[in-house]
Point group: C2
Chain length 176, copies 2
DNA sequence: GGGAATTGCATCACTCATGTTGCATGTTAT
DNA sequence: ATAACATGCAACATGAGTGATGCAATTCCC
């Protein structure tokens, strides 16, 4: 059951237009077996969307983003998300499902709450746009997820947070 | 001709599995007309990949990334790319075509050369990984391209470069 | 061991995107 | 005006993915 969902996540993550046949093959079962669990392709995708999104939300929540110190929460959230999301690609795409969309919006709120806490704590600059920053944070995680050349998840998370906070510049006054 | 390619870029950018019908509709022509220009879907995609990639490469090259001062080149490249790429999504995905792949690799090299020049000039930290930084730069442009809420392209480019160089943090010593 | 459930396999009907063609219409250049 | 060309439209053939079903083999539980 979850084996099929995992295979579907992997397969659809690479190619959103993958066939049921390919998904079944990735799961190591016959195509008809997939159809017995999920009546239609649409149903499979909907279930997958909710399932993957819930795992994602759980990973975020486990980092105590609303209570832990902002920097710790930021780092831990990154680690958790990077561990859970092997490919990430799917759960974040267009949600295809209202329930998944709802969960995703909740996570988005949590994330922006965390960033605002970080701002208050003096970790983030006051003049940055929180929405933009959240987008950048997501993009960095995505980038990290698909460029881990054998790198350890912890190191990857450090890279993400470091890049988010410090950027790549020297900070010299020779600004743009 | 280019009208069809533009429509295809828009349509496939949103949904990579879009049908010829949808592309034709977006271009304001009949489906058969599209088939008269491009024998097969595969041919259309291949042509589009090369076409879009060439526009992308031209936009980068026009910023003189190898000769202009690093910061200027970085900013101008960002502006150019953001102007050309309404949706970006397509030309950057898996290239589907060896020729497009070749051009993309060339741009990638140009970009990393620019970043190394920036490093030498003291704009970028010496300890950052250039490949990672390029990935982050791409991700930021992508992020910017799909979150411009009426923002001006110049402002968007400033945001991208600023985020890339400074990040979102305050730089206080209360590091992770 | 007996029975229930699950799976693989073969098969079939159905839908839909793709690609082709013929014909009529409209546009452009000479 | 007329010839060349491009387009829209309708129709058709084809192939592939989808979804359903019957049957035999298997695994698992009592």
């Amino acid at each position: 059951m979850t084996a099929i969902l995992e295979a579907a996540e992997r397969t659809l993550g690479r190619d959103p237009a993958a066939t049921m046949e390919q998904i079944a093959e990735a799961a190591g079962v016959a195509r008809t077996t997939v159809h017995r669990r999920f009546a239609t392709r649409e149903a499979l995708v909907a279930t997958l969307a909710v399932w993957a999104t819930e795992r994602f939300a759980a990973a975020v929540e486990a980092a105590r983003p609303d209570t832990a110190p902002p920097l710790v929460a930021l780092y831990q959230t990154t680690v958790n998300v990077l561990s859970v999301k092997a490919d990430w690609g799917f759960a974040m795409g267009e949600a295809a499902d209202p329930e998944a969309e709802r969960i995703l919006a909740a996570v988005r709120d949590t994330c922006e709450r965390l960033l605002r806490r970080a701002q208050t704590a003096g970790v983030l600059r006051e003049d940055v746009d929180v929405e933009w920053t959240r987008g950048v944070y997501y993009a960095l995680i995505h980038q990290a997820a698909q460029s881990r050349d054998g790198r350890d998840t912890g190191a990857l998370a450090t890279l993400v947070v470091d890049t988010l906070l410090r950027g790549a510049g020297t900070g010299r006054p020779d600004r743009l």
